[in-house]
């Protein structure tokens, strides 16, 4: 800050410190010896921290958030008193907007600013659910903290204030609300997750200078360009479109029987295959359903089939296995397989065709028949469409659920844990 003649002399080492926050600064560390000094006439007690910690963003650095330039005034390392995890906070200042904070834990960042409205409580547990700006926030943690290290300037006695307040944090990723309560003050703040890339860009520093990101931040949103509700709505709409399309295709399917012929092993004589009578298929391209029937009981029939276009010579090959077994065991009747086998071939052009059959018979049954139906309704298309339609939403919802369970695993108030 330029043009500032505001100075304070350290009682411990006599260093003359320029006070960048002028009269707004109520506590600061000495640039000479690092002593933490309270600047008020009412309390000028000093203290020293055991271990020095270098801030990733230097004191005095300026960063731009939502178009507003903030200057880093102070840096503090706080430790939660129950579970003993530590995090880092940067006090930011802009004379037109006041102060804000950057909080960093395991390389995950939140930008935090004071709010003047009191969030509204909802639900039965009065302090567990809040509504604020149409967002539902759930309690994530309650904690006491202490200051392990501080450097720079503060507009309040950050050491005493941290130790005398009880904190509640509520999350609705990427946002969170925090309230610091003491006998003398209630301070509500709102926060929003920031990626390390955004922090680096805001302060124009390399991302490599920032602490390495470990895991997912507790306010880090699930990064998608849509929300769950719109995904579910879209899926429901597409489901109904698929159902309507299936109704349409069933309606227009002509299902004409174009060929039906019985075959007997006797006709084979010394040939390896049977040749059907030729048959005509009218119209342009369409599908063909082959229904292979073999009157079996506890037996099998297998054949390779070749549908041959007599004008073009193009072959369409498939094979089919027909098996049917049944019996009575321990008083219960059972059956397995079927005497019918079906095959479907798509995009068969109109023309004259015949079928070559390469059968393999068992010893007991020697007959079978083939029925060919043109333009059948294909239910399989509907199911494939439905499967594809559901695959992404199901994957998304499972992934989302797993992320949420993990997010809340470090909270004492996880909605995913039943007591």
């Amino acid at each position: 800050m330029s043009g500032n003649n505001y100075t304070v002399t350290c009682n411990h080492c006599n260093t003359v410190n320029t006070v960048r926050g002028k009269a707004m600064t109520l506590a600061m560390t000495c640039s000479g010896c690092g002593y933490y000094m309270r600047l008020g006439d009412w309390n000028n007690a000093a203290s020293v921290f055991k271990k020095k910690v270098e801030p990733a963003i230097p004191i005095g650095a300026k960063g731009r958030f939502d178009g507003i330039v903030y200057e880093v005034m102070g840096f503090v390392v706080k430790r939660e008193t129950k579970y003993h995890y530590s995090w880092r906070e940067y006090l930011l200042f802009n004379p037109y907007k006041g102060y804000a904070f950057l909080a960093e834990y395991e390389g995950n960042w939140n930008f935090v600013w004071p709010i003047e409205e009191n969030p509204r409580t909802v639900g039965n547990k009065s302090d567990h659910d809040l509504m604020f700006e149409q967002e539902h926030y759930r309690i994530y943690q309650k904690y006491h903290a202490e200051v392990q290290y501080a450097v720079g300037e503060f507009f309040f006695d950050v050491v005493d204030l941290t130790e005398t307040t009880y904190n509640h944090e509520y999350i609705a990723p990427p946002f969170f609300l925090t309230v610091e309560k003491s006998d003398d003050s209630v301070l509500w703040c709102k926060g929003e997750y920031c990626s390390p890339k955004e922090i680096a860009a805001a302060f124009n520093i390399p991302k490599s200078k920032l602490p390495a990101k470990e895991g997912r931040g507790y306010t880090q949103p699930i990064s998608t360009s849509f929300n769950s509700q719109s995904l579910i709505s879209l899926t429901v709409i597409l489901f109904f479109v698929a159902v309507l399309a299936q109704f349409y295709f069933s309606f227009v399917a002509t299902e004409d029987v174009v060929f039906n012929e019985d075959f007997d092993q006797k006709a084979l004589s010394d040939q390896k295959f049977l040749v059907s009578h030729p048959f005509d298929i009218s119209g342009s391209t369409g599908n063909l359903e082959f229904d292979i029937y073999a009157p079996l009981t506890n037996d099998w029939f297998y054949a390779d089939f070749s549908l041959i276009n007599e004008q073009t010579g193009v072959e369409y090959n498939f094979s089919k296995d027909v098996e049917y077994y049944s019996g009575v065991e321990d008083g219960y009747s059972w059956s397995e397989g079927s005497t019918h086998g079906k095959a479907l071939i798509s995009q068969i052009p109109g023309g004259r065709y015949h079928i070559n059959v390469y059968p393999e018979f068992s010893t007991t049954y020697q007959t079978f028949s083939i029925k060919v139906t043109r333009n059948v309704s294909m239910l399989v298309n509907f199911w494939v469409t439905l499967l594809l339609l559901m695959a992404f939403p199901i994957f998304y919802l499972i992934r989302r659920q797993m992320i949420e369970v993990k997010r809340w695993s470090e909270s004492d108030y996880s909605p995913y844990v039943t007591e």
Partner: protein
């Protein structure tokens, strides 16, 4: 600087207002509810963990209003200090404070005023020496109150929260380093 509470009182010698980063100054102008005002003076309260600049502004009619400012947060008070006769023990942070007439506010903080400074011309003001307590309370609708507690005497100033943009401030200090 010399000020007097009453003409009959002995003049009070007070020190200069310390420098801070407030962007208002004596001579700044603005509008409140479509009425233009000009800032003519200031009372600066140094609280234990905060500060409060009460900027004294006057309309062209000569009527006075107070614009309280702290870290970019603004409150406008068009009333004068009134004696608060309800239960002063309820003036606590986090507690509901009843103002009468079904108006209730949430206590936000209680801070001891450690220093008090004056500059320019000020309208009617209630306390001239530090050592009193300041209580701030608000409602979600934006109504706000400032209480001062000195011994058994509680005074109240009621007004509303506003944004600096609402006040359409002009002739303010331009801190170019933050642009």
């Amino acid at each position: 600087m010399v000020i007097t509470e009453n003409a009959s009182d002995e003049p009070l010698l007070v020190a200069k207002v310390p420098e801070d980063w407030s962007f208002l100054q004596i001579g700044s102008a603005g509008e409140y509810k479509n009425n233009a005002f000009t800032i003519v003076g200031r009372v600066r309260l140094q609280l234990r963990n905060d500060y409060k600049n009460f900027w004294c502004a006057v309309y062209s009619t000569g009527k006075c209003l107070w614009i309280a400012e702290s870290f970019g947060s603004f409150r406008v008070f068009t009333t004068s200090w009134q004696r608060y006769k309800n239960d002063a023990t309820k003036l606590r942070a986090g507690k509901t404070i009843h103002l009468g007439g079904n108006i209730a506010m949430q206590g936000e903080y209680v801070e001891r005023c450690e220093n008090l400074r004056f500059e320019g011309e000020i309208g009617p003001w209630n306390l001239f020496r530090p050592g009193f307590f300041v209580v701030q309370a608000s409602r979600d609708s934006g109504e706000t109150a400032i209480f001062t507690i000195y011994r058994d005497t509680v005074d109240i100033l009621t007004g509303e929260r506003v944004s600096s943009e609402d006040l359409k401030l002009t002739n303010i200090l331009e801190w170019n380093e933050w642009k």
